[in-house]
């Protein structure tokens, strides 16, 4: 079993680029929160040695970001996110109300700290032609989250429903402007938002950001070659000594390329076999000594 798992883990390809320090100037800028409205972009070029076949997923990965702190996890309003009672902010301490005492939508520490970098990938076919790699921003979240747990209020005009509310402190635009192109991906049901709201269990985690749309050049996956990440750098990590990176990965039936399960299975199997041989030997030896005494 372990070997099978290990082999399938081997068959996946993964590429991780940590851009915390590559975009050092932006990081510096973000350390001061008063600069929140200043734009900062940076570009990260890289070379893909082998092509990535099949579905390719783009993740962002955060290091040292504690999404599992007790108060943090609780600081959200599920009934608000259901669209049932959008003014219910009582569970959202310490981000319930904005400075002028209007309720925040969406309220709470989780929503407030949303990962707000935008990352786009472009493929440099040659030195002059830069093709933007087409990416899907749907199918990122659990279906139950997308269609049951997160619902917009039943209305045609989100902006009017949310009138009288404040946007979260760190947000640049209100909830009803998250995706103005696609009403099915706007408001509470925006998938980037939903993915963020599903808090991670450990301080180092990666979250699905985009999926490769397999058309044209990319029908088979990502071909090898030169690529560029264009990052609009908004999310501050250096001030809590965190790091962030972007990950491109293909998957198999068992998910990603983690070798933990495979390794542990192999080791456990081997150890058990060894131990049972040892026990058998002891057993036989003792039996023999017993007999010799008799």
């Amino acid at each position: 079993m372990g070997v099978v798992l290990l082999l399938s883990a081997k068959s996946t390809k993964e590429l991780e680029i940590n851009y915390t320090n590559i975009c050092a100037n932006c990081a510096q800028l973000r350390e001061d929160s008063s600069n929140f409205d200043k734009e900062c972009t940076c570009s990260v070029p890289f070379y893909l040695l082998e092509k990535m076949e099949g579905n390719v997923y783009m993740y962002y990965k955060l290091y040292g970001f504690h999404q599992n702190l007790y108060r943090y996890v609780l600081s959200r309003s599920n009934s608000q996110l259901l669209g049932k009672d959008i003014w219910d902010v009582k569970d959202c301490s310490p981000f319930q109300m904005s400075h002028n005492n209007t309720p925040i939508i969406p309220c709470g520490a989780i929503a407030n700290s949303i990962f707000n970098d935008t990352i786009t990938l472009s493929y440099n076919l040659n030195s002059s032609i830069h093709i933007k790699v087409p990416m899907l921003k749907s199918g990122l979240a659990w279906l139950t989250d997308k269609y049951v747990k997160f619902q917009n209020p039943r209305t045609s005009d989100l902006a009017s429903v949310f009138a009288g509310s404040a946007k979260p402190l760190h947000w640049t635009k209100p909830i009803y402007e998250l995706d103005t192109d696609d009403p099915g991906n706007n408001g509470f049901v925006n998938e980037d938002f939903i993915v963020w709201m599903r808090t991670a269990a450990f301080p180092t985690f990666k979250k699905l950001y985009r999926r490769l749309k397999r058309v044209d050049y990319f029908a088979e996956g990502l071909p090898a070659g030169n690529y560029n990440f264009h990052i609009s750098y908004n999310f501050p990590v250096t001030m809590f000594h965190g790091e962030k990176s972007v990950v491109l990965s293909t998957l198999t039936w068992i998910g990603g390329g983690g070798i933990f399960l495979g390794l542990t299975y192999t080791v456990t199997g081997a150890l058990t076999l060894l131990a049972s041989f040892a026990i058998l030997t002891i057993h036989l030896m003792l039996k023999r000594t017993k007999k010799s005494f008799l």
């Binding site: 747990k149 599903r198 000594h241």
Partner: protein
């Protein structure tokens, strides 16, 4: 009690002297005496809730969870939703509450029934019917035959002469024989004259209510004269009037003041070793808990200053937190709440349920049901079961416990000829069988229950052999039995001692029927001819004289002295020539004959004792009987064996001799134990103040010890008791004879104090109550000596042989089950709780829990409770036949091997290991991982679902590993609980529930999304395997590498079960020859005084004496 205190108390009593006036309710109302209604119930409808809750919160565990609840309500430190504690607490409280309520309803009903009984009260010169509860102090009531006494009343007059009334006190002290009460003459003269009675205006001054059944003093002032009153004038509530048509009484104590009520409800509560151990362990857990919380709060402080401070952009500190130190102080309490499940809330309730269940097994055991008396075994205390599996010392009474206490006239020797063996036609001695039973049909007064197997004696009687007739005449005259003729022609004898009854009954069957007696005459029907003997004198039996004598004048006007008594005593008095005449000489008597009365050993006693001694249980016989009898019994029931090296006798009559005898005995058994280098002597030399544990010493052979009560009095004195203990404990069997009840208690207490092992006392009589109460476990035999021993016992049954079943089967099972339960229970809570500890290192020590709050709520209560209850109610490691055939299996309990502090530490280590696996394997699986469609599984909710499902699987596998006997119920409980978990899980994560209460149930869809993932199941299997394999390995290696005795036996049993061979048949133990010849007459004085005083008899009438006495 010091003398001073006693004086104080006396003064105190005098102050509160009770004054009352007969027939004067107004006067008596001044004193606010309670009315005669009783209330044994604890609660009423209104105070049930507050009172019951108050009582329950006095238990440490419940109080702890209440405190915890308050902590949870403080928002600053609350780390778990309030319902995680409230729901289990409510369930636990309500289970106990319901149990209490049911008990109390029963008490209410019985109170009501008693209070509404009717009684005849004298009102305004008429006798009127009223309810018991309306009776007031100072009322005069009329009591009738066979009716219970309403309150404590002063006997005024009765239908019997001299103002006598007979009562039975079975409910009070368990003695079934009749007792006599007598009214003072001034009131008994009133008889049933209602006018006189209603005019009676005596004033009574007496002591205030107390619980001393045999003590009462008061003064009756009537017509200016003072009469002294003692307890012989008082009829106590709870007695039943017998043989008395009517009597009148003055009510003195009512309802709660009566001696019966004052005596009730003050029983000492026995706790088992496991209880004590459990309390110690809970304290340990508290300490571990505190240490962990401290560690985590320090960690939190460090984390907050290093990381959390810089994380404030996203999660600012609460306004009241000034620094990381304050924060860490609060987190200490938060973790205290999170880790509270280390102290298992349902532990005590579960333990109670298990004990109750195991008690029912005892009650239901058909093999401990005694059909002839229709009496099942009874677990009267339901809290001591597992201690039955740990007994090391059994203290047994002799008469009625080892023996049946049914005296049977077996053999006799008259004029040198022995009767009683049965012969066939050829004169060969044949075993007793029904065929050669003597036919007594010639005698219509014969008792059909009596059987005798030697026809020669009947022939001798019929042929009117002189000596045989004289012999039976003696037996029919020389006794203090009373006769009753309830139905015409059917005599019932009331004898003070069973052996006397046996003799008179035998005599009756042979044709010398004792009919009735008055104070001056004895009427006997001798072979159909009624003869009246003049009774000149009775010298009643006493323990000192060991004989009784009567002097009678025969109808032929001859004066004769008949004497019967102990062989040893009478032998000295006999005429040396042993002449054949039954005449009175000045200093010599002539021997008429000897009787042999057999008090049979109960069935199976020797076998039981052999089995017990194989189980390394030491049996000591503590008896009031004399030495020869006791020793003989000891041999015949195999406490002593012929092949023993030596039986020591300690019979010294002064301290020096006793000490010398004990030392000599010990020197022989283990010479080095007298040296100063002996560990116990070294210990003693240090003169410890606390009673320390005297270790077991191994003697160099098999020895027995006999010690009599006189020597024991010295041996139990302060400095000698250790000598006694050490000598006695080295012996295989110990017989203590001629003991007082107090000495029995002292011996039990001695062993209990210094040996620190479980003791069991078994007895049937009132004299055994002391030791039954003193021992860890008291067993009552419901036999012939009343109910009192049984009422004070923890377990009761009819036959001594049931003891081996109680100990080796039920006790052993209970102990094993309890140990398995405890080790599993602690383990399961450690594994459950410690996962939080590991998680703390990844969540900034923020008191974040791994599991969903609902899982924490239900874990102990729903998910894991049934399998463990099933295990501890139905588990049998070996079946009952094996546990009886291999008594060696009992030993681990005595040394407390299956659950002790070491086992607890093993549980702790095992729990820590399991929690590591349970945390790190899911973490490894989930960390940086994703589903095959790229979506999230490394989120907190998936992680917590994974860990809790794994936990449940691991726990189920662990319980399956520990189960040896799989029944349908254990299958249902174990796998049912697992299924139930997944059902509840789906329910908790269902859309409907989560949409209805979005802020309470927020695990929407987690189950559906995760249980589809292969890596979840792979992780689950891996963790389970990792948790289970070390246990299997350990279980396999343990008997190989560190074997204890039991393992060999178990191996043999399993071998036998696999290769079905006939189980080793227990060799039938041969009864050693008839060694027993001892005089075992009653130690109580007979009715002699009463007979000669003439009180009981109507001197006038032979006719009237036919009435029921």
């Amino acid at each position: 009690m010091s003398l001073n205190e006693r004086e104080d108390e006396d003064k105190h009593t005098e102050d509160k002297e009770r004054i009352l006036m007969a027939n004067d309710r107004k006067f008596n109302a001044l004193f606010d005496y309670p009315d005669n209604s009783i209330k044994t119930s604890k609660y009423s409808l209104f105070n049930f809730l507050p009172m019951n809750l108050f009582e329950q919160f006095q238990r440490l565990a419940n109080a702890y969870f209440l405190v915890l609840l308050f902590l949870q309500l403080i928002p600053q430190i609350s780390s778990l939703a309030w319902y995680t504690t409230v729901i289990p607490l409510i369930v636990v409280l309500s289970i106990t509450g319901v149990k209490d309520a049911i008990d109390d309803v029963k008490r209410h009903q019985s109170d009501k029934q008693v209070n509404n009984r009717s009684v005849l009260v004298l009102v305004d010169g008429r006798v009127e019917e009223d309810k018991w509860m309306n009776v007031q102090v100072g009322d005069i009531i009329k009591l009738e035959n066979d009716h219970p006494v309403t309150a404590d009343v002063l006997l005024l007059s009765s239908s019997e002469p001299y103002g006598l009334a007979y009562i039975e006190t079975a409910d009070l002290d368990g003695e079934t024989n009749l007792k006599v009460k007598q009214a003072i003459s001034v009131t008994s003269d009133m008889e049933d004259n209602l006018e006189l009675l209603s005019a009676f205006n005596g004033e009574i001054r007496c002591e205030p209510p107390n619980n001393k059944l045999d003590k009462f003093s008061g003064i009756l002032n009537y017509l200016g004269v003072n009469y002294f009153l003692d307890h012989d004038r008082l009829l106590l509530r709870g007695c039943i009037i017998r043989n008395t048509d009517w009597c009148y009484g003055l009510v003195i104590y009512t309802g709660p003041d009566t001696k019966l009520m004052q005596n009730g409800g003050k029983s000492t509560f026995k706790r088992t070793h496991i209880d004590h151990l459990m309390n110690v362990l809970v304290v340990w857990i508290f300490l571990v808990l505190g240490a962990m919380c401290l560690l985590l709060s320090i960690g939190h402080g460090i984390w907050e200053s290093n990381k959390g401070y810089f994380f404030q952009e996203f999660l600012p500190w609460q306004h009241y937190i000034a620094s990381s130190t304050t924060s860490s102080a609060l987190v200490f309490w938060s973790y205290f709440i999170v880790l509270n499940t280390m102290v298992p809330i349902s532990l005590y309730v579960s333990v109670e349920i298990i004990r109750l269940g195991n008690s029912y097994y005892i009650n239901w055991d058909r093999q401990m049901f005694y059909a002839p008396k229709n009496t099942p075994a009874q677990a009267r205390t339901t809290t001591l079961n597992e201690e039955l599996g740990q007994v090391k010392y059994v203290f047994s009474d002799k008469t009625g416990t080892l023996t049946e206490n049914v005296m049977i006239f077996n053999k006799c020797s008259i004029n040198g000829k022995t009767y009683g063996y049965s012969y066939d036609a050829n004169g060969q001695c044949v075993p007793v069988s029904l065929n050669n039973k003597v036919d007594f049909s010639y005698n219509h007064l014969a008792d059909p229950k009596f059987s005798f197997y030697d026809n020669t004696l009947v022939e001798a009687v019929k042929s009117e052999d002189h000596f045989v007739c004289l012999f039976f005449r003696c037996l029919s005259l020389c006794h203090t039995v009373m006769s009753e003729e309830k139905v015409e022609g059917k005599l019932v004898y009331q004898a003070q001692s069973p052996d006397e009854g046996a003799l008179v009954t035998a005599t009756r069957n042979f044709g010398f029927v004792f009919c009735s007696r008055t104070s001056e005459t004895i009427t006997v029907i001798e072979m159909g001819e009624t003869r009246v003997y003049q009774l000149l004198a009775i010298l009643d039996f006493s323990n000192e004289r060991k004989r009784m004598s009567v002097v009678v004048r025969t109808p032929e006007d001859r004066v004769m002295l008949f004497c019967k008594g102990a062989d040893t005593i009478l032998y000295e008095l006999l005429h040396p020539s042993c002449a054949s005449l039954s005449e009175v000489t000045m200093d010599h008597l002539d021997l008429l004959g000897a009787t042999a009365i057999e008090d049979k050993l109960q069935i199976g006693v020797p076998e039981t004792i052999v089995t017990l001694s194989k189980a390394k249980i030491k049996v000591w016989v503590l008896t009031g009987d004399k030495q020869e009898t006791a020793v003989n019994i000891a041999y015949s029931c195999r406490i002593f064996k012929d092949e023993m090296d030596e039986v020591f006798m300690v019979e010294g009559t002064d301290q020096e001799t006793v000490l010398q005898e004990l030392r000599t005995a010990r020197k022989k058994m283990k010479p080095e134990s007298l040296l100063e280098s002996d560990p116990i002597n070294i210990c003693l030399a240090r003169k410890p103040k606390m009673p320390f544990r005297v270790i077991d010493e191994a003697p160099n052979g098999d020895y027995g010890l006999v010690i009599n009560g006189y020597s024991l009095a010295y041996a139990l004195e302060g400095n000698m008791e250790l000598e006694l203990l050490r000598t006695a404990c080295m012996c295989k069997g110990v017989i203590c004879c001629r003991m007082t009840p107090l000495q029995k208690t002292q011996v039990v207490d001695l062993v209990k104090r210094y040996k620190k092992v479980v003791t069991l006392a078994i007895g049937d009589g009132a004299n055994d109550i002391g030791m039954i109460k003193a021992a860890h476990i008291g067993v009552g035999i419901s036999g012939h000596e009343g109910m009192q021993a049984m009422l004070n016992s923890d377990f009761s049954f009819c036959q001594f042989r049931y003891l081996q079943r109680l100990l080796l089967v039920h006790g052993r099972w209970s102990y094993n089950r309890m140990c398995k339960f405890l080790s599993y229970f602690f383990y399961k809570n450690f594994a459950f709780t410690l996962v939080h500890f590991w998680y703390a290192f990844y969540n900034g020590f923020s008191a974040q829990t791994v599991y969903d709050t609902w899982f924490i709520t239900c874990y102990n209560l729903v998910y894991t409770s049934l399998p463990v209850l099933g295990l501890s109610l139905f588990e049998k490691d070996v079946n009952e036949t094996c546990s009886l055939c291999y008594p060696e299996l009992y030993e681990p309990g005595q040394h407390n091997l299956y659950f002790n502090k070491k086992e607890f530490l093993k549980c702790l280590v095992h729990g820590i290991y399991s929690s590591c696996v349970l945390f790190f394997v899911p973490m490894g699986t989930i960390f940086n991982s994703e589903r095959s469609d790229g979506k999230d599984i490394s989120d907190y909710q998936s992680f917590s679902l994974l860990v809790q499902s794994t936990l449940i699987w691991v726990m189920t596998m662990q319980i399956a590993l520990r189960t040896n006997t799989w029944t349908m119920i254990s299958h249902a409980f174990t796998w049912g609980s697992l299924g139930l978990y997944f059902c509840i899980l789906l329910f908790l994560c269902s859309d409907g529930l989560c949409l209805m209460f979005p802020s309470t149930f927020y695990f929407l869809g987690v189950t559906r999304n995760n249980l589809k993932q292969p890596q979840m199941w792979l992780c689950l299997i891996l963790s389970t395997v990792l948790c289970v394999i070390p246990v299997i390995g350990y279980n396999f290696l343990k008997p190989l590498l560190w074997p204890i005795n039991v393992d060999k036996v178990l191996e043999r049993i399993h071998f036998c079960l696999k290769h079905p061979l006939p189980l080793p048949v227990q060799a039938k133990i041969k009864h050693p020859g008839l060694r027993r010849s001892a005089y075992a007459f009653s130690h109580k004085q007979g009715f002699g005084d009463l007979i000669t005083s003439g009180k009981t008899m109507k001197s006038s009438a032979f006719k009237t004496s036919k009435r029921p006495l």
